[in-house]
């Protein structure tokens, strides 16, 4: 004769194995004394619950599957790098403004737009970070979608028809920051989000990422350029013809140093993330925004210069980089998959 426990076990067979025993004990705790079979309502509820769990896992993976967790981590790193880039903008802004202030060849709007035009962009990402930190994930997702849409629209019009307000600043954030923004948005939409990514990394690593980002950003600023030129431009210095070129030249001279720091930080991050499946997936996803940087550096090393003719080239490079990274990940994990296939019980 079947007992209540047997009847519950038959229903719970529809659930993922790791839930069954726990649920059975809860159901038996909640059962009425002398109850011999599940009520119709309980049966319907258990069937419906099983369908919901199975359907969600089918679409999103179990318990925030490995890819989702990888995307959560990549989203966190992307958001931190966007904030770091905003820090670079903030440090450089007064210098760029001072260096170009006396340039009579530009109108006031053009001058301000070129020097500070990306300000609202960085401000929006700072707002996204605050919203993520405070748990307003849906609002943060809306804001990231708005930023990416506005950025794409301005850029499309600018590239197709020429001058448009904020067109020039939009090109300066059209590759790496755009790809970082894309990863961050994907993380908010299809994974537990960047805040969860930070938790997966653990307190030590999660707090080391902003420090590394800040260090990287500061290497791209006027004070670090001053280390090379030996001449510090202060906000308020008078404009001198060629000063901006000298400033840009100094930043280019820092390229080798930067590349070493980027490589060192990248290897450190890889060493930490490669230990887990979700970490390896985060690394593969982060190849997307990183590829255009290395492609530009490689092009400069080979040809002595790099050609910047819009975001399309770097985007294709980024997608190619991601495809290679995903292929590499598949090859790395293939032996483990084959072993698992040979011993399904393992």
């Amino acid at each position: 004769m079947r007992t209540l426990e047997d009847r519950y076990r038959r229903l719970l067979a529809l659930y993922p194995p790791e839930r069954r025993q726990e649920m059975l004990d809860v159901l038996l705790d909640a059962a009425r004394p002398g109850q011999a079979r599940p009520s119709v309502v309980d049966t319907a509820d258990l069937l419906f619950g099983a369908v919901r769990i199975r359907a969600r896992r089918l679409v999103c993976g179990a318990g925030g599957g490995t890819w989702q967790q990888g995307l959560a981590i990549a989203g966190y790193v992307s958001l931190v790098l966007l904030l770091a880039d905003g820090l670079r903008f903030l440090v450089n802004a007064p210098y760029v403004l001072a260096l170009t202030a006396g340039d009579q060849s530009r109108g006031a709007f053009e001058h301000l737009s070129a020097a500070l035009g990306t300000g609202p962009y960085w401000l929006a990402w700072a707002a996204v970070a605050v919203l993520v930190r405070r748990g307003f994930r849906r609002t943060a997702t809306g804001l990231t979608a708005l930023v990416l849409t506005a950025q794409s629209a301005v850029l499309t019009v600018y590239l197709a028809h020429g001058p448009v307000p904020y067109g020039m600043p939009a090109t300066s954030v059209s590759t790496v920051p755009f790809l970082l923004g894309l990863l961050c948005t994907a993380s908010l939409v299809t994974s537990p989000g960047p805040a969860h990514g930070a938790r997966l990394l653990g307190r030590r690593v999660a707090s080391a990422v902003p420090a590394a980002g800040a260090l990287l950003a500061l290497l791209f600023t006027a004070p670090s350029a001053a280390l090379v030129t030996g001449r510090m431009y202060w906000p308020g210095d008078r404009y001198q013809p060629g000063a901006l070129d000298m400033f840009s030249g100094a930043l280019r001279m820092l390229q080798v140093g930067r590349l070493l720091v980027v490589a060192a930080l990248g290897i450190a991050l890889l060493a930490v993330l490669a230990r887990s499946g979700h970490g390896r997936r985060a690394c593969a996803l982060l190849v997307l925004p990183v590829t255009p940087v290395f492609a530009t550096v490689a092009e400069t090393a080979v040809r002595g210069f790099s050609v910047e003719d819009g975001p399309h080239g770097p985007m294709l490079t980024a997608v190619a980089g991601l495809a290679v990274a995903l292929g590499g990940l598949l090859l790395i994990e293939l032996p483990a998959r084959l072993r698992k296939g040979a011993h399904p019980s393992a």
Binding site: E22, D29, A30, G49, G63, G193
Partner: protein, 109 residues
């Protein structure tokens, strides 16, 4: 936020609890109006865990029965706080409108 989610997060705001503990606490919180059933509870727990709003705390075996404890994460606490804020605003708006409504007998004929 759906009612089961709100009740589960509120139950866990007090500290880690196991499945049956959440069911009894949720019933208390709702003033006896809502009793979560196992299927509803675990579908919600599975989703909340995947979203990072709750996490596994510890496991115990009491009288031969497995008790897995769940805890509220910081993100879960933030989500609950946002929902409480939204509910408070709605309640206040409803109370204001009800207070401004003419009472029966005082309405113009």
């Amino acid at each position: 936020m759906q009612e089961p989610t709100f009740l589960i997060l509120t139950a866990l705001a007090d500290g880690p609890q196991h499945g049956y503990g959440i069911i009894t606490d949720a019933e208390r919180i709702s003033g006896g109006r809502t009793r979560l059933r196992a299927g509803t509870l675990y579908a919600a727990l599975d989703r909340l865990q995947a979203d990072g709003l709750i996490g596994a705390d510890r496991e115990e075996v009491v009288d031969g029965r497995l008790r897995r404890y769940y805890r509220l994460t910081d993100e879960g606490a933030a989500a609950l706080a946002a929902e409480v804020d939204a509910l408070r605003r709605r309640t206040e708006a409803a109370a204001r409108r009800l207070a401004a409504r003419p009472r029966p007998g005082t309405a113009p004929a």
